[in-house]
Amino acid sequence: MNNLFQDANRQQISGRRRNDLIWRILFLGATLFGIVALSALIITIVTDGIARLNPDLFTNYPSRRASASGMKSAIVGSLYMLCLMAPISFVLGVGAAIYLEEYAPKNRFTRLIQLNISTLAGVPSIVYGILGLAIFVRTFGLERSLLSGALTMTLLVLPIIIVASQEAIRAVPRARRDASFALGATKWQTVSRSVLPSAISAIMTGVILALSRAIGETAPLIIIGAATYVAFLPESLFDTFTVMPIQIYNWIARPQEAFQDLAASGIIVLMIMLVIMNVAAIMLRNKYQKNI
């Protein structure tokens, strides 16, 4: 047995091992960088904002006195916006994805559309604000309304939803479509009964993540003229509105320390909302996967 291990070059091996260790530390460092930065962010925000995280924040309208200020109109505005945006962007985005994946002929025109959608997914959000201003606010005359905001945000998330839905639809095995067609199904029967049930969890995950991005957006809404000070709840689609990130932006721009703390508690609320949406996305995915 001794002979078997005699000729090992132990020096060379320990060199290789040291190298291995260095890489391990470098990768760990890369991971920790993000974690540390995120923890620092959370800790500062929570220490600044925890004091103002009380029911008043949810029930009061903004005020010029920090002590009386709340973000009721912003929270409600964000929720209204979400409720408007979600169905519109879901129907349009998934519809477009189904067309492109299942119905569209595979020609140069389709590829051109595809390329454009992928590019649009990466366009800065402020550009969508300008587009929304030109189309919805000016051309359609919707003014600085909740509806304008929701439609602009729909434009912003559509490319993301289309791309995510296309990937989900493409991931459904061809055999599952063949099985359906071979039983005499039409295209729509195959899509609705075989493809979508298999793809829906991945689609929903994509939709929720896209919507959670929109919930945190400020720039396009400022461009289309969402108000920064709204002391009432929108009662129709055509009322002016504000959303959480705009309210936070407004507070943080004030010189008084009290407003800065208020902004921190606003950020906590916003982050909790985003976490809830992400958890919902994960739960939805797991639920559907279990059903399979």
Partner: protein, 269 residues
């Protein structure tokens, strides 16, 4: 199989002679773009019998199978010339709806491909497509189809369970049940046992012997022994051509073409 009495054997032979033709293919060419995949195919397939397509990979046997329920329609740039006649109708003519054709000509694939649904919903998928909504009627169809596919006794207590909880062989029989549920005349099997273990394969081979009393079965197999075991007629393909077709025992014992003989004796392929 049994040779103890003379009488049934005689009956068997008369029956073989009596086979009616259900599929009649005349001078059929198929092109994928510029590739000439099937060349001047002339072939008749008898009713209520098992016909096996054999030949080396890429010889066109699956392609021909897929022309019989027009699954090739979905491949872009496919062009078909000549006649494919099923029960007196040219299936590529305008009077045939592809949905009806596929209802009459069912298909089972190489890989068992159940839907991610319950066993019940898998079998009921086809009838529901064609408009059957009545629960009692669906129950009846599901039970009958599963019985015909020799799966009922194994799954009757778990119909609500996911089809993926079944073994590979059971899944493939589920796919057969699913195809039978729309009441087809013809059942196409595209190497339906090639992904299965020998015992599951045997079960499906036995099943085909049952099913041919009621259905016409056309199967592609890469296994010559399987063709010899269970088919009544065998068709030998080579490079997109039908080299020879005949009653199975005759084709294997006394092939008329040299290429057939070379293939079945294992000289190539």
């Amino acid at each position: 199989m049994s040779t103890t009495t003379e009488a049934p054997q005689v009956k068997e032979t008369t029956k073989t002679v009596d086979f009616k033709t259900i599929i009649d293919i005349k001078d059929m060419d198929l092109y994928y773009g510029t590739y000439h995949a099937l060349k001047k195919v002339n072939l008749t397939i008898p009713e209520k019998a098992v016909t096996a397509f054999i030949g080396p990979s890429g010889c066109g046997k699956s392609t021909l199978l897929r022309t019989l329920n027009r699954m090739n329609d979905m491949i872009p740039n496919t062009r078909i010339e000549g006649l494919v006649d099923i029960a007196g109708t040219d299936i590529y003519s305008n009077e045939v709806d592809v949905e009806t054709l596929r209802k009459k000509v069912g298909m089972v694939f190489q890989q068992a491909n159940p839907f991610p649904k319950s066993i019940y919903d898998n079998v009921a998928y086809g009838p529901r497509l064609h408009g059957i909504k009545n629960k009692a009627q669906l129950d009846e169809i599901v039970e009958q189809s599963l019985k015909q596919a020799a799966l009922w006794n194994e799954v009757k207590d778990f119909l609500k369970r996911s089809a993926f909880s079944l073994s590979g062989g059971q899944q493939q029989r589920l796919c057969i049940a699913r195809a039978l549920a729309v009441n087809p005349e013809i059942l196409l099997m595209d190497e339906a046992t090639s992904a299965l273990d020998p015992i599951s394969t045997l079960k499906i081979e036995e099943l085909t012997q049952e099913l041919k009393n009621k259905y016409t079965i056309v199967m592609v197999t890469h296994n010559m022994h399987q063709a010899a075991r269970i088919s009544d007629q065998t068709v030998f393909f080579l490079n997109g051509e039908v080299v020879e077709f005949d009653q199975t025992d005759k084709l294997f014992s006394n092939p008329s073409d040299k290429r057939t003989e070379d293939y079945i004796t294992g000289r190539f392929g």
